[in-house]
């Protein structure tokens, strides 16, 4: 049962897992890059990034490139650690069967 507790409810969604996967291997990603890679709508993606931000797993930076607003996302230390735990738990669950 102890393995089950490592499955993180915050990551329990395709888009959120996707956001974390992309941010784990990239220094940062902006909103459009995430949108393109995940094939999500603006509203959908925004609600999931907000959830991850609320859990303090990702950092959000708003800035301007020229006149265009640009939102950049990156992982926090906590987010990285939790994501790794989550992946390990997933792998253990798979191997168990």
């Amino acid at each position: 049962m102890s393995i089950i507790t490592n499955i993180n409810k915050v990551f329990d969604h395709r888009i959120r897992l996707g956001i974390m996967s992309i941010l784990m291997v990239n220094e940062y990603a902006d909103f459009n890059m995430l949108k393109e890679l995940l094939g999500a709508t603006d509203g959908n993606l925004a609600s999931h990034t907000k959830a991850l931000e609320k859990a303090a797993y990702i950092k959000v930076e708003k800035q301007f490139i020229g006149r265009k607003p640009n939102t950049r996302y990156s992982t926090t230390k906590l987010g990285e650690a939790e994501f790794k735990k989550h992946i390990n738990a997933l792998e253990k669950l798979i191997n168990k069967q």
Binding site: R14, G18, I22, V25, E91, I94, K96, Q97
Partner: protein, 203 residues
């Protein structure tokens, strides 16, 4: 049934990590064609030098300029072919040709290449011609190794081979021409064919 979902999650995670950090739509076919161009170019250069320059290349002579033009045309054709075929493959994969992953690939490929190119021009200006061939192979190899972190990992091995050929070329400059034929011609064809069968055919 649940474990199947988790398995799908994991494979999707891996796929996204790859797609977001590496540009993998490089076309194997363009490698083959670049190699073939290089061999044709080498044959022309060889013919020019043997036929009109009695086997030796006089710097700044007419034949030398023709050989340089030959070299430039081959490089240009290879780059254009590469861009066209890669764009086609990226489109087929539904990937964006000019996104952050391809930009990163190009930048990291160009850093050693441009640094090397400028260095070669500087020492050419100082009348040191002997190592030019070796340096081109060497810097091209370094550029490939550097770029491999942002693309198909196998490019790394092509880079190692070019570096080794470059070092051999520095050691025995007399065989420079044949090492070039091997590095820029034969190795591109071998590598392109390998990539073609490994990645392009499967889909």
């Amino acid at each position: 049934m649940e474990s199947k979902d988790y398995l799908k999650d994991i494979s999707e995670i891996k796929d996204l990590m790859n797609k977001s950090s590496r540009f993998i739509s490089l076309s194997g076919l363009s490698g083959i064609l670049a190699g073939i161009y290089a061999l044709i170019g080498a044959a022309i250069a060889y013919w020019l030098v043997v036929e009109y320059s009695s086997g030796t290349l006089v710097l700044n002579g007419k034949i030398f300029r023709l050989v340089m033009l030959d070299l430039f045309l081959i490089a240009f054709l290879s780059v254009v072919t590469g861009i066209i075929l890669t764009t086609r493959k990226a489109k087929k994969n539904g990937a964006n040709m000019w996104d952050s992953s391809s930009r990163r690939l190009v930048v990291n490929f160009l850093i050693p290449l441009i640094a090397g190119g400028i260095y070669i021009l500087i020492i050419l200006g100082q009348q040191k011609y002997g190592q030019t061939g070796a340096l081109m192979l060497l810097f091209y190899g370094l550029a490939l190794v550097n770029a491999s972190k942002y693309s198909i990992g196998d490019i790394r091995y092509l880079g190692f081979i070019q570096i080794i050929l470059g070092l051999i070329c520095a050691w025995i400059p007399g065989y420079g021409f044949w090492l070039w034929v091997l590095g820029f011609g034969v190795m591109h064809i071998v590598y392109g064919t390998w990539m073609y069968f490994k990645y392009d055919i499967k889909k």
